[in-house]
Symmetry: C2
Subunit: 406 residues, 2 copies
């Protein structure tokens, strides 16, 4: 290994927020303070937008108390952005880094952020500018390649699982068909998490539809009818991104972000549409309701998964250790080395381009053959990430003998 690279560091946050994205930020900052190679610790305001505008926050000036409070606070404290820099902007990023003697660049985000990091790294290499560039994983979608799972997913999964636990009690109180629309455009991990709180055979959700399988409206109606006839109620968890057999989304809005991703969140249209289908086919008198969980899934405070928070912190810290210890750039990933009650991960560095652009889908082994539920294997995969949930109380319900003719 060559002499240690000395200079300033920049950290940015990108893409949709999570409840633990600031744990990674604070992990990066507190670990960086331990290494003399790293001078200034700069936070880019609103990701690459702040880098382009030279809008840097001096994170060495933050108190330890402020940093720890920020770590517990949902959503990007530095501000985030959904922006894929153009070639001109990439050149500008490089100019800014050079002007500020930035030698370490950490970008916390999803696969789009890994792609940005990869491009910046590439430009620097072409210019023979010494910089180490690291991607720190973050996404509630849990769709990054290589890593076992992504920081941010566990808490979002916990929110969805708790929401379904409550909704199952609600639906038992006032029976009917309930459709819950969950975030996750192409990957069904978050929708699948709806099933994590089930402990009894008749607990909802009774049907789970992920975007990895084609969605048939006719089969959906048959599934709902079967459950509703059997239990007198039916809870459905469905991904916002479900598509038909030809790959056409069941419902989509027109707006796209600069990475070309269609915006589906923030609207109840899919839930309303599916409710209408159920009513039209199973009867207008049937009580059918829908909820679209929306942004609460990535921002609701006080329900953080402890495992998720600790891992988000750790990938931030490890990124700095890799940066000062290894002579290469990369993305921090997790490998599961203990399972169930012995759940444990170790971290490793994977090349930036192994994470950039492409995304991961739910394993086929995690989806029930009928395509309307998850498997035990999925629950074993995701349960440790969401952490212990809530065990609902239930009445034994012994009946008093009747005394009247009906």
């Amino acid at each position: 290994m060559a002499d240690a690279l000395k200079g300033n560091m920049v950290v940015g946050q990108s893409g949709g927020p999570t409840c633990v994205i600031n744990q990674s930020l604070v992990g990066l900052v507190t670990e960086a303070m331990k290494h003399s190679e790293i001078g200034g610790i700069y936070g880019a305001a609103f990701g690459v937008k702040g880098i382009l505008a030279e809008d840097f926050i001096d994170l060495r000036k933050e108190s330890r108390e402020a940093l720890e409070a920020v770590a517990r606070t949902p959503c990007a404290a530095l501000g985030s952005v959904r922006k894929k820099p153009t070639p001109d902007e990439c050149a500008r990023i490089f100019d800014v880094f050079r002007a500020h003697d930035v030698r370490y660049y950490f970008y916390i985000g999803g696969n789009d952020s890994a792609e940005t990091a990869f491009i910046v790294n590439d430009i620097a290499r072409q210019a023979n500018y010494d910089i180490k560039v690291f991607h720190v994983p973050k996404t509630i979608d849990n769709d990054l390649l290589v890593t076992d799972h992504c920081p941010g997913y566990g808490t979002a999964a916990r929110f969805v699982a708790l929401a379904l636990l409550g909704d199952d009690r609600d639906n038992r109180s006032l029976p009917g068909v309930k459709i819950d629309v969950v975030m996750g455009r192409h990957a069904g991990f978050l929708t699948a998490a709806a099933a994590l709180g089930r402990t009894k055979d008749d607990d909802g959700p009774h049907l789970v539809y992920v975007p990895e399988r084609p969605f048939s409206e006719a089969q959906f109606v048959r599934d709902v009818d079967e459950v509703n006839k059997r239990l007198g109620r039916c809870i459905v968890a469905v991904s916002e991104g479900i598509s038909d057999a030809s790959g056409k989304p069941i419902l989509e809005t027109k707006e796209k972000d600069s990475h070309g991703n269609v915006q589906l969140s923030g609207t109840g249209a899919l839930g309303d549409y599916l409710s209408d289908i159920v009513k039209k086919n199973l009867g207008e008198k049937l009580r059918v309701r829908s909820d679209t969980f929306g942004y609460l899934q990535r921002s609701f405070p006080t329900i953080v998964s402890e495992v998720d928070a600790a891992e988000a912190r750790r990938v931030g810290e490890e990124a700095v250790r890799f940066a000062v210890g290894a002579d290469r750039s990369g993305s921090v990933a997790m490998r599961r080395v203990g399972h169930g009650r012995n759940y444990r991960v170790e971290t490793f560095l994977t090349p930036l381009d192994s994470v950039a652009k492409k995304t991961k889908s739910l394993d086929a082994a995690f989806i029930a053959p009928a395509g309307n539920d998850v498997t035990r294997a999925f629950v074993e995969y995701a349960a440790p990430l969401a952490g212990p949930l809530f065990e609902p109380g239930r009445l034994a319900g012994a009946r008093v003998p009747k005394r009247l003719a009906t």
Copy 2:
């Protein structure tokens, strides 16, 4: 007072669930066990529907552990119903009560439930059948007359306040206009609770629209524009039940329940509609999103307000004490006798017909003169009910000097 009335008791739960409705149930049951006047403790399955079907759960057979677990569990453990009994059904209720020697009837619910209790009480009196009938208040809408506030509201208010605290961080991360649609058909208490987490001047929600004030779409657009120009972002909390100056709801669906209430929940249509108005007037490029919080507001577990849980328990216990101690029927109400840090309530009995049918709206003193925010008086009223919230961490944000020309 005459000799103590001896016989069995029936308890039912009615209307939309809350997170603490089972605290009232368990308060009733555990207190009833202390009084020898009360024999059988029967839970009506699904409210009046269970009474009509003689479907009673023997609550004396439930273990203390099961009852305590149920108390902590959201939504009606006995099952609930939205049903106003017909005159024939009221006669049947009375027959069932007589057949089972029911002398105490407790109905946990909103004003519709108080009305049902009042009718049952009236029929019994006309037939010279000795029974004491009690309404135990419950509603996330907080719209019952007489009582200072309603059990169930505090936790729903807490959910909404926490959701907005998270959403404010989300909106700071990725700025834009965000519209959050909150439950509450005619009363704005729950929508107003969106403001409870604000601690800094620029904290969201920046605009709060309650159904007590006519909603002007033109003024709404001007309000959003003003905030967005000033802060570069804008969070709106709006009641699902807002109406225009003529009293016509901004958006309504066709379905009505048997009490004649229009169903507005479970759809994202109002949020989508308001988003479209903003875009059409302020520019299609503006990032505008909406969320409709839906049933999570009344069922999400693990975020219960301790004050709310304790009060829900207490009104259940007090209902039994009033039942065995007072020679009349009634509805249990709360009076606030201590404020702020000395917050404290006492309970009292109010006639059933003082609570039945009519509902309460948000005090004029709780709504800002411009009609787009709440007042300090509202926050003082509601904050003790929701309990301590979440204090977000914030970066001081000292800037690094720029080195390049822009």
